[in-house]
Amino acid sequence: MLELRKDIFADERDDNLKEVGKPTQRQDMLGHVTGTSAYYDDHRFANLLHLKILRSPHAHARIRSIDDAAAARAPGVKRIIRAADVPVNLNTLLSLIQFGKDDEPSLATDVVRYKGEPVVAIVATSERAALEALALVRVSYEPLPAVFDVEEALKPGAVSVNAAYPKNTFEYYNKYDHQKLRFGDADAAFAQADIVLDERYQMSPIEHAPTETNGSIAVPDTNGRFTVYTSTQALFFSLDTAAKINAMPSNQLHFIGGTVGGGFGGKVDTLTEPLAILAARLTGAPVRHRLSRHEEMQFGSPRGGERIYIKDGVMRDGRIIARKVRAYFDSGAYTRLSSYAAVKCAAHIPGPYTIPNVYADVYCVYTNRTPATAMRGFGVTALDFALECQMDKGAAAVGIDPLEYRMLNAYRDGDMKAHRREAKNCALIECAQVAAGKANWPLRDEFRRMSSRAGGGAQRTGGGADRTRAPAPAAAATRAVPATPQRVSYERPAAAAPTQSPPPPPRTPSPPPAAQPAGSTHGAPRFSSVFGTRRR
C-alpha cells in the first residue's frame, strides 16, 4: 500500500488529496481479465489482405537490382510495393516538429543501412502466401563495409552510414555535431582535486519486446477515407506521419487505438501504418501489417546503446569539484528519436548533484545497427546508471558511505545548476533519509539532520562557506547566476499571497495541516512542481 509521508515539507503542504494514496480500479481492467479488451488485431474484416516485408540481410549494402517477376505470379499475391510506389519515401519522425532532416525511407531505394531494413512489400490473401512470394523475390546486393561502434563511426575515414548526415553525427540547428555543456573550469579544477576518477561505462541496446508485436490494419472507408486500427502508442503522431508519407491530408485518416499490448516506447515509431495504408489504397481492400516476433526483435527499434566516459575530480572530504562527461548515443542507421535522446542526456548531466565545474559533450551517432528509439527515460537511463556507478566509485575512493557521499553533493535549494538554472524544490536528501530509514542503513547524525533547504546557494558553490574550498566557477558561470541575494529563509514570501485567494499560511516551520484555513485546499498551481512555485 502506498505510504504518504506528509510530515516532510509539512509547512508547505495545503493539500487534502482525495485520490492519491487510495486504490482506484483501472477502467480497462475488467476487459483485460475477461479477454474482451480489443487490441488492434481484434477487429475482423472480410477479404482482409496481409502485407509482409522483404528485409535486408546485410548491415550495409548497395542494391544492384530487384527481380520480383516470379513473386508477382505467385498464388494469392495481390500487389507488390516497391520504393518508387511510396509517395513520400523519405521521412524522419521529428520532422513533424521541424527537428532534423528527412533521412529514412519506408522502403530502401539504392542502399540498405541496417540488417532488417525494408526493401520490398508484398500484399497477398494470407500471411503464408505473402511469405512464400517473398521467398521468390531476387535482390542483388553489393555488400559495403559497415560500422557498428559509435567511436569507430567518428574516426576520420569511417564508413558514412546515413546519406543525410555524412559525418555520422546528427546536426543540431543544422550546424553542431554534438550537445555541449560548459560550467566553470573543469580542467583547472582537476588540477586541484585530491583524486581524479576516469571511468568508462556502456549499455547495450535493449529490445522492448512487448507481448503484442507492432501492427496495424488499414481499412478503406466508404467516403474515401481510411480507418486504421493500430498498436501505436502515439496515435496522432502516427496519423500525421502516415499522412505525410502517403501525401494525403490527415483528415482522410481515422486512427483507432489506445489499447496497446505493451509499448514501453517501442510503439512510437509508426513502423507499420504508412505501408498498410498505401497497400489499402493500391488494392482497395483492408490490409493488415503485423510484425512477426522475429521482425519485432530485428527491425522494431530498441533502446539505443550508449557509451559514456565520466571523469570526476574529488576532494578527500567528499566534495566533487569537477565532472567531465563524454557520451555517445548509438542512433543506429537513422535518426528516429535519438537526436532527442542526446538532448535529454545533456540536460541530465551532471545528475542531481551540485558540482561547480562541469564539462560535457554528447553525440548522437549513426552506425549500421537497427535504428534506436524511445524507451523509458531514453537518453537519461544509461547516463544515470553511469553516474550512480561513478558515485559509488567516488565514495569508495574517499572512504565515505555511498549514501552520505550522495547527500553531501546533492542539490540544495538555491544551488546553481550547470545549466544556469537555480535548483528549487530539492528533495534528494530527504528521499535518501527516508530510504536509509526503511533499509536500516546507518547514517551519521549530521546526515540525519541534513536538509535540502539549508546550505544551498552561494554557501556551497559561490565561495565563502567552509565547505567550499573548491575553485570558484569561472566568470562566465558566475555571471549567469542571478544577482538576487541568496535565500536564508524558506518561508513563503508574502508577495506570493495576493495571487492566491486563501490567506498566507502561518509562518511556522511545521504547522499541522488541520491548522490551515479550510479554503487553502485549492492552491493546486502553487503546489505544482511544473510551475516551480511549490517552494519558492
Binding site: Q25, G35, R44, T211, T259, G261, G262, R293
Partner: protein, 159 residues
C-alpha cells in the same frame, strides 16, 4: 485443402474448416471467432496463447488444430460464470496483476490449470506454473500474489 475439425470450446460444440497445417490459435481466432486468445510470438515461446486442452495448459500457436478434434478446450472467454468473475479474475483485478493486459488471458489459463489440480499451491508452485508465460509490464509479483489470493479464496473485492 481444408479439413473439418470439431471440438468443445468452453463447453460448447464448435466446428471449423482448418487449413492444412493450421494451428489452434489461428483456428480459434479466425474461424471460430474467439478473440480472447492472443498471439504473441507464433513460435511457442511466450505463453500468451495458452489455453487448456482437456485441462492441461497448451500453447495454441504450436498446437495442430486437427489434433484437437473431440477435445475440450478452455479459453479465458469461458472463465467467467455469467455475471460473476472467476476468483482468479477478481484477484487479478484486485492485485493490479494486469497492465497492458495482453499476456493476461494466457496467464489466467496457466493459473487456472494450476489451481484446478492443486487448490493450495505454494509460491514456488505458482512461479513454476506461470514460468512459461512472459509478462513485460508487471514484474510478475502482482500476478503471483493474485494467484495465491485466489487459491486462498481471498476475494478482497468490497461489495
Amino acid at each position: 485443402m481444408k479439413t473439418p475439425v470439431q471440438f468443445r470450446l468452453n463447453g460448447e460444440e464448435v466446428a471449423a474448416f482448418a487449413e492444412n497445417g493450421a494451428n489452434l490459435l489461428d483456428v480459434l481466432r479466425e474461424s471460430v471467432g474467439d478473440l480472447s486468445v492472443k498471439g504473441g510470438c507464433w513460435q511457442g515461446t511466450c505463453g500468451t496463447c495458452t489455453v487448456l486442452i482437456d485441462g492441461a495448459p497448451r500453447l495454441a500457436c504450436i498446437t495442430l488444430a486437427e489434433s484437437c478434434a473431440g477435445k475440450s478446450i478452455e479459453s479465458v472467454a469461458g472463465l467467467r460464470r455469467g455475471a460473476d468473475l472467476h476468483p482468479l479474475q477478481s484477484a487479478f483485478m484486485e492485485r493490479f496483476a494486469a497492465q497492458c493486459g495482453y499476456c493476461t488471458p494466457g496467464m489466467l489459463m496457466a493459473a487456472k490449470a494450476l489451481l484446478d489440480r492443486n487448490p493450495n499451491p505454494s509460491r514456488e508452485e505458482v512461479v513454476d506454473a506461470i514460468a512459461g508465460n512472459i509478462c513485460r509490464c508487471t514484474g510478475y509479483e502482482p500476478i503471483i500474489a493474485a494467484v495465491l489470493d485466489a487459491a486462498r479464496g481471498e476475494d478482497r473485492r468490497r461489495a
